[in-house]
């Protein structure tokens, strides 16, 4: 119960540090989701429609990558962005940009795999129609993506969920620097380490509330869109 009242007090106080942390968490994760979608949606759709040697292997690999441990993704990004790594001169380690890259890597397989699954089903359904219109598989991609947009939202939300909830990757590549790369999840980890468990739970509740709000919004827009689309 202490955690609930602590969470409420934290929000009510409008603590600028808390707002900054929430803002950074959202900025990082939403940017990562956007990048994941810009790359993952077309790639997933093409994977659903194109036939090429080794396609099954690619499908299995992306399915498996949905289970990529965030710590491993973080470590790889860390080694690449480190000053001693190949992209060291860009000076991106311990920055929000590094966290966005790590999260986008975590999101990408989810968006690709779920998009592939949705588009494959749609293609089965509309194959005859699209063929009769003389549409090639590749040119059907935008049509099918648009048609499956409501189902695709679920995949995008799954990607958002994975990114907003993870701590292993952002901790390694961001460094949990106060006022610079501290997000909700790394702040929760820090408060747990300090033994301030009620503050940690309070932050967890706030993160859940933010996630719930976003999901409610997405669901509401989806419902509205379905009705509008008839």
């Amino acid at each position: 119960m202490g955690a609930f009242s602590a969470a409420f007090e934290l929000i009510a106080s409008g603590d600028p540090v808390l707002l900054e942390i929430i803002g950074l968490s959202l900025r990082v994760t939403l940017t990562a989701v956007l990048i994941g979608c810009l790359i993952g949606l077309p790639l997933g759709a093409m994977l659903a429609l194109l036939r090429f040697p080794g396609r099954s292997g690619v499908v299995v690999v992306f399915n498996a990558l949905m289970g990529l441990p965030p710590v491993v993704a973080g470590l790889v990004v860390y080694l690449v962005l480190s000053r001693s790594g190949p992209l060291g001169p860009l000076n991106l380690l311990f920055s929000p940009t590094a966290m966005i890259i790590a999260q986008a890597i975590l999101i990408l397989p989810i968006v690709i795999s779920l998009t592939r699954s949705v588009i494959e089903d749609l293609w089965e359904e509309y194959r005859e129609q699209l063929r009769s219109l003389g549409s090639s598989r590749l040119r059907a991609v935008p049509t099918l993506l648009w048609d499956g947009r409501f189902s695709l939202v679920t995949g995008i939300l799954a990607g958002f969920g994975r990114a907003s909830a993870e701590v292993g990757a952002v901790l390694i590549v961001g460094g949990n620097i106060a006022g610079h790369t501290r997000t909700m999840t790394t702040a929760i980890t820090l408060e747990t380490a300090r033994g301030d468990l009620s503050l940690a739970i309070a932050l967890g509740l706030i993160l859940l509330a933010v996630t719930l709000t976003l999901n409610t919004g997405a669901y509401g827009i989806g419902q509205w869109g379905r009705r509008a689309a008839g």
Binding site: R27, L30, T31, L34, I35, L38, S82, R83, S84, G85, G88, P89, N91, L93, F94, S95, P96, T97, I100, G175, N176, I177, A178, H180, L190, T192, A193, R194, G195, D196, L197
Partner: protein, 272 residues
């Protein structure tokens, strides 16, 4: 139209980090330990330094071993850690310029209130550790190559004990998580005083042993060698080190208190 609007919005979100980066002033990255961060020391002294110099200090809190590795890779400008031997090796290998004494705190041994191994009356830290091993009372070890872990291993060696068996549990994590574990298992643990004093989830753990000189825990600060990594912000990093060992920095460290107790004792002018 909707997609168009989405794209504009998306581009705006994507550009946010870039915009934020453009506003940044001068900053240095300091790789330090969990004990300095989690005890709240940095929260107390860094604003004073930033106000005086305008240089922002970004602290990445890691175990001493990891912090030195961060320095070796050139991912920090300054390392601020506590494991004398490792620090000296870091300088000898050429990764660090010079080690400066800054301050010390001390380690204490905490454990279950009923003290099954009877360490509260021990004459020395080594005797206390030997008693824990003899009683095979649960002991939670950091097990992470941190400064605290290194100090703990030295104590076992002094006690003539090879710590192994089901009573000896390595958590492989930071000081706070290790104390959380110890609190749940009612285990003994070696901790720095600062983390213990600011730690809130103590359960039945109590403060049992302190005061042996071998428990003193000196912190050193080292500039990462610009000859190894030419992007190191040597000037700003050195300014931070100079401030830490100046009167102003030393006073700032001494004035940090938790529950009325001073956690860190400045010793910049002491023998190095």
């Amino acid at each position: 139209m909707i997609t168009c609007r989405h794209l504009v919005l998306g581009a705006a979100i994507a550009l946010l980090p870039v915009a934020a980066a453009a506003q940044e002033g001068e900053y240095i990255t300091v790789a330090s330990t969990t004990s300095t961060e989690q005890s709240g020391l940095f929260g107390h002294i860094l604003p004073l330094f930033e106000e005086e110099t305008g240089i922002e200090v970004r602290v990445v809190a890691q175990g001493t071993g990891q912090a030195l590795e961060t320095g070796r890779r050139g991912d920090a400008d300054v390392v601020f850690v506590h494991a004398r031997e490792l620090e000296e090796a870091f300088v000898e290998e050429g990764y660090g310029v010079e080690r400066f004494d800054v301050m010390y705190n001390d380690f204490v041994i905490v454990g279950p209130g009923d003290d099954p191994a009877g360490i509260a009356d021990a004459e020395s830290a080594a005797e206390a550790m030997a008693a824990i091993a003899a009683a095979e009372a649960p002991f939670a070890s950091r097990g992470d190559d941190s400064g605290t872990h290194v100090a703990e291993l030295n104590l076992w060696e002094a006690a003539g004990v090879v710590p192994e068996g089901s009573w000896y549990r390595e958590t492989g994590s930071g000081m706070g998580p290790t104390l959380n574990t110890a609190s749940q298992m009612n285990a003994y643990a070696l901790t720095d005083r600062g983390t213990w004093l600011s730690f809130q989830n103590r359960g039945e753990l109590e403060f049992l042993f302190e005061g042996d000189e071998v428990l003193f825990n000196p912190y050193g600060v080292i500039l990462v060698n610009p000859e190894m990594h030419d992007h190191v912000k040597a000037e700003a990093g050195q300014a931070f080190i100079d401030w830490l060992i100046s009167d102003a920095g030393q006073e700032a460290i001494a004035s940090y208190k938790v529950e009325g107790e001073q956690l860190f004792f400045p010793n910049a002018n002491g023998a190095s």
